[in-house]
Symmetry: C2
Subunit: 339 residues, 2 copies
Amino acid sequence: MIKIPPDAWTMNRALRLAEKGRGWTEPNPMVGAVLMKDGERIGEGYHSRYGAAHAEVEALKACEAAGLDARGATLFVTLEPCCHEGKTPPCVEAVIASGVSRVVIAAEDPNPKVAGKGIAALRAAGIEVSVGLLAEAAKELNRFFYHFFETGRPWVTLKAALSLDGKIAEAPGKETALTGKVAQRYVHGLRHEHQAILVGAGTVLADDPHLGVREVEGRDPLRVILKGKKALPKKLQIFRDKNVLILEEMKVEEVLAKLAELDVHSVLVEGGQAVFTAFLKAGLVDEMQLLLAPRFLGPKALDFVELDSGFSLEGMHTKVLGKDLLLTGRPHFEKRECA
Amino acid sequence: MIKIPPDAWTMNRALRLAEKGRGWTEPNPMVGAVLMKDGERIGEGYHSRYGAAHAEVEALKACEAAGLDARGATLFVTLEPCCHEGKTPPCVEAVIASGVSRVVIAAEDPNPKVAGKGIAALRAAGIEVSVGLLAEAAKELNRFFYHFFETGRPWVTLKAALSLDGKIAEAPGKETALTGKVAQRYVHGLRHEHQAILVGAGTVLADDPHLGVREVEGRDPLRVILKGKKALPKKLQIFRDKNVLILEEMKVEEVLAKLAELDVHSVLVEGGQAVFTAFLKAGLVDEMQLLLAPRFLGPKALDFVELDSGFSLEGMHTKVLGKDLLLTGRPHFEKRECA
């Protein structure tokens, strides 16, 4: 049997708590926290939604509400506590005030406003701080957030529903419901998890899509439309509220720079062919989520992309979604040998 | 908890025994048998390879070898015992001579030489016979065999390695190793399970394939080559022994009739594009086994098939094979609504 050290168990619990905030905290990261004292869990919490209290504060509140004393306890937190005034007061102050004697942090905050300053502040207050326990899992959890601060660009997820011959519609401009209910529900979950969703004007004009989150509980992402030369009638569903951004034709790099300015850390690119092609050509797709329907659409159907060369899907993972399949991976264009 | 009746447990065991003969018994079916007396298993056996003793005889032999008495026992057998002289004497005689008082049969033998006559002979000898326990599983086990006697044609399995854009090679005539080791081993298993393997002359001339079973323990299927106008040089690997059949250009229906004449119950169609297209157009593919590699080959690559219309893969099942995916299902060409 593999023995898991108690600290790793606790941090894993904090990570699972953090996960509960998925889709609700952006542009903040998901964070979870657990307070331990004498081998007992005396409080825990997570950042539940943007604007709400941070995980550390929630854990301290829970401890107090239970009539317990945080003094001398160890705080496990999945991300370095913040030291700057944001929507809420800095967590570092609350942590110091609580009297905890040790703080175990999974990963440093990549946000330059924090980036080590939270840790330094805790240490300056005489608190023992260790960093790096389950760091990889903590960074994976907030991969949009880390990617944003590392690259200055939002994480780009390309989502497409494909037939087994790599087609996305029976003909150009013809809406084709390739995938089933389970896959559609999955897509709504993906939308909730991303801060923005992006489609070309062609898709909007052909399908008049809702582009919101309906099949699952979630919040609508910002709808980004890459406008071409044609006008977009105001009666289209995308204009149903103000949560929409129309970008006049621009390069992929410019689109992402614009979204980064708006503090958008993740964008779900949903088509059509021209948009998929542009993002892949620019080499700016971080992840592909392909929903494969068990059909061949034949030679008259519309190709997924218009590229001269092929590419591979690296690190492919697979999941059955009802009658369809989900393949996830990262596009890779370099010439390589097959196994 | 679901209670499984003891008889079903026993028949399931017989089915698992039968399975051990997969690929070795053709053109005979796989058969397993278990002898039960007073709630104890007193003998069991299976048809291990073409020409060897049948399952019932193996079970009776095992009983005798253990010094036990089959008189008054119940024989569970996955297929109706044969009543005709074949490679071995009729099983019905051995069963009657053994003194068993009851025979439980999963499914009737579809071979007109038997088809109920075995059951009638057992009953005429005063043995209590019941038929139909786990019949569906027994028919599924020997689906090639049942299909052959129901339709007069061999079961056609189409196997292709595809990219995610439905291509089979980087260019016509260019051998492309799309799939990895695990998928390749799987294909060798498929070859072992089929009585014949079929490819077009183009594939043979382009790749000089071995078309044998090497990656797993198994027996080489009959190699059927659909010859076109070009000559096939004698130095090709397919001519390494006599287990090869060259058919001059003929229709799919004629090819299958020819194979049926040779008592071939199953054929694995491995390409190329023209052969895949002909079999699908003829509506004579019973099962597709598609190995999906995590790559897009791009617009210059060779399409899997040349068909005017699309089709769906019904009853799709999925399995991860190393870095690749296996999709199995049945092609369906009728126009249908998507869910």
